[in-house]
Amino acid sequence: MKSLYDTDILRWSEEQAAALRMLADAEAIPSADWDRVASAIEDVGRSALVHVEDGLRTMLVQAIAGYCDPDSLLRHERNRRVRSGQSEAERDLSPTIRARLDLDRLWREAFDQAMTEIPRRVLGVPPGIPRTCPFTLDELLADDFTYDRAVERLYILLTSWRPKAEKDRER
């Protein structure tokens, strides 16, 4: 039987940590630092989640920076970062992590980070950057998701994006 450890590390670590904490309360248990052992096991899952988030955030930062600064000489470097972010995210992805991801939060964090990365000469941020992530997780993880693709997709998505109220008025 394949262990949850291999298929769903976050769930595994949370279940094991809970079991270890319960066990610590049982009688006739050898003395040990059970609470810290449980926390250490919990950290295994948590750090997998953090890796996936870091990878995805890196990808989004590059896409936003590329959208704001399309003529950047960093294109190759950004392409490389998108790839390495994607493999980092894929490596630790598992069902519970997938369910726990908050892409909109990552998107907003990525926006803040991108603003610190784009050069000063890029005056003003293009309008229409939404507060919610315009990419789905599956899009981000697709094999053909590259930096150029990401910027292009953003361009198409965001230049045709208008507040909902405006669209309603036209109808």
Binding site: S3, L4, Y5, W12, Q16, A19, L20, M22, L23, A26, I29, P30, S31, A32, D33, R36, V37, A40, I41, V44
Partner: protein, 165 residues
Amino acid sequence: MDFATLYAEDVETWAELQVDALRRLAATPGSWGNIIDWENVLEEIESLGSEQRRAVESLLENALAHALKVVGDPNSLSTERWKKEIVNFLRQARKKIKPAMRSRIDIEEIWQDACEQASDTLEAFDRTLPDVPQRCPFSFDDLLDADFDPLRHLRLLTVKRTSRQ
């Protein structure tokens, strides 16, 4: 020493004690036997115990390997980068090392690995490892001294050995 102090100062001994208790528990029949994934829990706690020491060992190995490469191939375009990294690796190692690691770190093994690593790189460019002793010429304390300059020591050492021949 209580567990909190042990965890902070000697996580490897801490982990050994926990692994020991976990193993005893695993061997005891009880209802938790089916709930706890003993094998993977044990493995995680073991690796938690050794990961800090391993990080220090690999920093020391890389610092020494770089020093050997600089001495073995002083005209390489990479020497400036290697020199910077030596300083950086040693600084990081000093930051991460704890007194409790001392008895667990095998300087000879680090030296062997550094020689192998350096010789692989040097040979790829038709250079050879400088004539250095089999046994590590540095002590644990040398490596952690903030003024320690492995390059100067290695150069002196190779000059001495060559002139003796």
